[in-house]
Amino acid sequence: MTLEIIKPGLATSVQDLGRPGYFHLGIPEGGAMDRLALRAANLLVGNDEGAAGLEAVFMGPEIKFGPEIGAGMSVAVTGADIPMMLDGDPRETWTAFTVKPGQVLSFGFLKAGARMYIAVSGGIATEPALGSRSTYPIGALGGFEGRAVAAGDVIPVGTGAVVAEGRSVPLALRRRPGTPAVLRVLTGLYWHRLTEKSQKAFFDDAWVVAPEADRMGYRFRGGTPMEFVDRPQPFGAGSDPSNIVDGCYSYGSIQVPGGLEPIVLHRDAVSGGGYFTLGAVISADMDLIGQLQPNTPVTFKRVEMDEALAARAARKAMLADIRQALA
């Protein structure tokens, strides 16, 4: 079973839930930026939640379903809000539908959110690399030939059963960022490097998503340049006050090179580097970042560990509800 890429979109790539365990070598976990959306798409078409699908960003691809799919294949698209057509007939996102051999799935213009997750019954069946099918383009690893898909690619699909059309994720269980998007942050790491004034400004300021926003990290602009507590720079750190001796970075950690534009590292994070980090976005809000378009207003909200864990539990409960709704 296969599907053929007619038009690739902007940076459409094969993603599953990633490959933890290699970050100490600079190979990031990767995987869907909005993991809940990928899980939901897989559940809709009867796959394991961790099956590989296609992640498209800002712009949908055009996909032709292979001639050998026989009775058909189930497809579901979750994540961003975008009009979608099968051979020109509208289809709903967050809802399973059946495709027949030779049919073409296409997309209109993005309305809200940023990333679409396209799941097909049987899942994308490219060869796993280090235990995952996720594409890590910087390292030319995983996915389809280690890169974003291109026009003409014929992507292998596993065998799966066709499910009932119309299975849908209830509206209340489709998680989307608000306006402004609020990202909750646990301070720490090198937070002490900032002056009290800059610590306060980081949470008070109105930020927007910068154009440099990708799977490696999301950059934000619009806030006040940060000031650092005076100190002689430690040996090996480099001369800029935002420099540290190159250390490990964590997923969600917020670095601010030169004190200017915060960057939140995401699924394809660099594993280390020489810029101070002021804390990290909590795990429960990482999916939301994957749905932010450039120029989206954002505020950072300071939380404590107990709130971070409560938010994580709430997100888990939401996944349980999706599972139940689609059981």
Binding site: L189, G236, A237, G272, R312
Partner: protein
Amino acid sequence: MKTRYSYGGDEHIYVEIDDEMSLDAFFICLSLSKLVRAANIPGVTEICPANASFEVRFDPDVIAPDAMMAKIKELEHEAEAQEKRLETRIIEIPVFYEDPWTHETLMRFRERHQDPNGSDLEYAAKINGYDSVAAFIEAHHSQPWFVSMVGFVSGLPFLYQLVERDKQLEVPKYLRPRTDTPKLTVGHGGCFACIYSVRGAGGYQMFGITPMPIYDPEQKTSYLSDFMVFFRPGDIVKWKPIDRTDYDRIVKEVEAGTYAPRIAEVKFDLDAFNADMTGFNAKLMEALNDA
């Protein structure tokens, strides 16, 4: 050393052994990471040692963050007490200094550099007090280096030169990072050398290029057939200056699958090294020459 613990969000513990670079801090990081690995703590998903810091990623649904931090703190004294010794290897890495590819790239990004009128090597030689680029290059390759961290991107090694602190070569990073760096560029930032394992963005000064791949996701390179990443923390590197003819020859040998890096098994003992750096390095390089 002033060890500092912090949460990195709800899934990471970050331990800064020291805010400045030293091999003592590195060895504590390495010991601590080995002890955490050996402790087999349920819920731990990543254990990442760095130059002078260390990080654990865990699943807070399996182990609570405060319990995770307490487990690491329990191991800290044991890590500090461990002997700073390592069974490792020394590898000769050929470097084509002042090569045309990094030169083209550094010219392309000149406006992002501290000295728009010179090359990265000219700048580095000047600010480190060398009267010529040749003398700087000599200092760069005459003494071995120690891989104190692997990361940033796929298999990229950070290296710390095995010399006294006052002899360390130090340069700032580019004023604004480049958007392009040739694959296998030998770079330098702060006191660290690096080898860019893949082509991409970078902020380190560029001194040369090696023909020897250090990351191969397809594992077609003969010496990367077991695993796609060449370096691991604790490896020792000796740069070997080569010219264009050597460079082209090695590239061909790598492609033909006949290139075998020169490697010798060695022991590294930090106390013995600190007691006599020149003598200790001489022995390391002797082992390499015998390989």
